[in-house]
């Protein structure tokens, strides 16, 4: 496995993190660890606090209390853009690209964030390596043919793929994906899941997913949230056997 340190095989952990929105408690005292190199999925019914937890892990906002550690370092409250520089990349639940930029430029901009971002004089095209790397990533996520199109005009599935391409641009050791298949056709979903498995060979992946069945097959570990609390944790087999989880998911129909 790449970049594994002697310190631990835990890449990310949260220590009793909670999140309040006004009087509403979205998350309560969640302590969990994410193993390096694994695919871990965070599942739970609607309103379980999955997205809130995801946002805490990805640095979109800080927890109200508790601590987030990345590779043994306390990263609680660091601004969002620092996460990208540490090697944490994320995709959004709602499609989130730069619509008025070309597909290629979307990825090139993401690549640029790690090097020459505040240069105001040299033409951006003179950074040839970034152009080449962007093309490689376009191939990688299957969008080479859409290179010159405005990102906003791509099909939904293509935009999701583009987002993953942008996330990969920062060479992340940890990739956080928020419902990457939301709104996709079964065919698009299949392609996306293949891509995720492939990506996970080189890096740690954390997935938030509403559809439990989808992630059972590919996840190494699962976290189940319910009403803002950690309900269960374990391998897919553990979770499948867990009576509490069954009850929660039986309570409402799975889509």
């Amino acid at each position: 496995m790449i970049g594994q340190t002697a310190t631990s095989d835990v890449i990310l952990r949260t220590e009793r993190v909670s999140k309040q929105f006004g009087k509403f408690t979205a998350l309560k005292d969640i302590t969990a660890e994410f193993r390096r190199g694994a695919i871990t999925s965070i599942i739970g019914p609607n309103g379980a606090g999955k997205s809130t937890y995801f946002n805490l892990l990805s640095g979109a906002f800080p927890p109200t209390s508790g601590q987030v550690e990345f590779e043994g370092r306390d990263v609680t409250g660091l601004p969002q853009h620092k996460f990208a520089h540490m090697g944490v990349a994320k995709s959004f639940q709602i499609t989130n690209v730069f619509p008025q930029l070309s597909t290629h430029e979307n990825i090139r901009v993401a690549l640029q964030a790690l090097s020459s971002r505040y240069n105001i004089w040299t033409p951006r095209t003179s950074y040839k390596d970034l152009v080449v790397q962007a093309d490689e990533l376009l191939h990688r996520v299957g969008l080479w043919s859409r290179r010159g199109r405005l990102a906003g005009t791509l099909a939904h599935g293509e935009q999701r793929a583009l987002e993953i391409g942008m996330a990969l641009a920062s060479h992340p050791r940890l990739l956080l994906l928020d419902e990457p298949t939301a709104g996709m056709s079964p065919e698009e979903t299949r392609v996306m899941m293949d891509l995720i498995v492939q990506l996970a060979q080189e890096r740690t992946v954390i997935l938030v997913e509403h559809k439990m069945k989808l992630v059972m097959g590919i996840s190494d570990r699962l976290l189940v949230l319910h009403h803002g609390e950690l309900l269960a944790e374990g391998t897919p087999a553990d979770i499948r056997r867990n009576e509490t989880v069954k009850r929660v998911y039986l309570g409402q129909r799975e889509h």
Binding site: H81, L101, R117, G148, R149, V191
Partner: protein, 331 residues
Amino acid sequence: MHEASHISEPLAAAPRHRASWFELARQHRVLLSSAFLLAFPLVMPFTALAVNILIYGLYALGFNLLFGYLGLLSFGHAALFGTGAYLCGIAIVHFGMPWYAAIVVGVLGGVAMAAAIGVLAIRTRGIYFAMVTMALSQCVYYLFYQAIDWTGGENGLRGINVREISIFGLKFDFIDPLTRYYVVAAFVILALIFLSRILASPFGAVIEAVRENEARARASGYNVTATRLIAFILSGAFCGLAGALQALHLSIVPIEIMHYETSGLAVMMSLLGGMGTFFGPFVGAAVFLLLENLVSLWTVHWQLFVGAVFMVCVLFFPKGIWGTLLQRVQK
């Protein structure tokens, strides 16, 4: 997805071919703009107006970098413009500096004022940003208003009299209107080159990214706050230069230059010309000032026309005059 790729291959290439001359013009926009500016005074009613159009165009250009390209609406740009003008004037009147040094002082003044206002205002967003910049620029207005010994207060700063300038040993009569025009035009062209470089640079890409999708830019590793601040400061450099040139052109700096109506001018000119277009601010400045000049010749109610034209633009041509033209040509 794999099947689709075969179909779209030629599609991607097609638009590139169709608009080739348009692309060519776009690549050489600095050259074309400069050529136009050099011939411009020939078609203007009088040269001093042409100089004003250049200066206000440059001022609107600085504003446009922030509003058009980054999407931040500031109602306090008069402070940047005015600081450039006052500092340039003070450098000449109180310190007897040569004109070129005074311009540098003016630009630095614009930069420093932008940094000061920016640090305070940049954390607020949207409408609040517009309001905070307006409030802070009003504070700056009163600051300069009260500093009578330096600025002349209500009476304005007088005596910025540059009769003769020498460039590489050649002497030019700065009282001559055309000389004045071409000296100012030279600085404006330099500014256009600089803006063009900024837009083409990696930072230009960051500006676009932040405007397009702030959350995404942040997740990609961009510091959005820093980006805004840098853009605000760059905007201050352009506006400071415009102010310095204005001081040299008119030989006075009126306190009105700091008034919030001057901030409104930048908004109006940018929008009339076309937000987020390279040459739009100059078109906007020209249309506004010509309209004001021509209409005020036959009626004192010129503001009615300016206001109405502005409303028509907002309602029907949100891309402004130049932006709409570009769109037509592109199609």
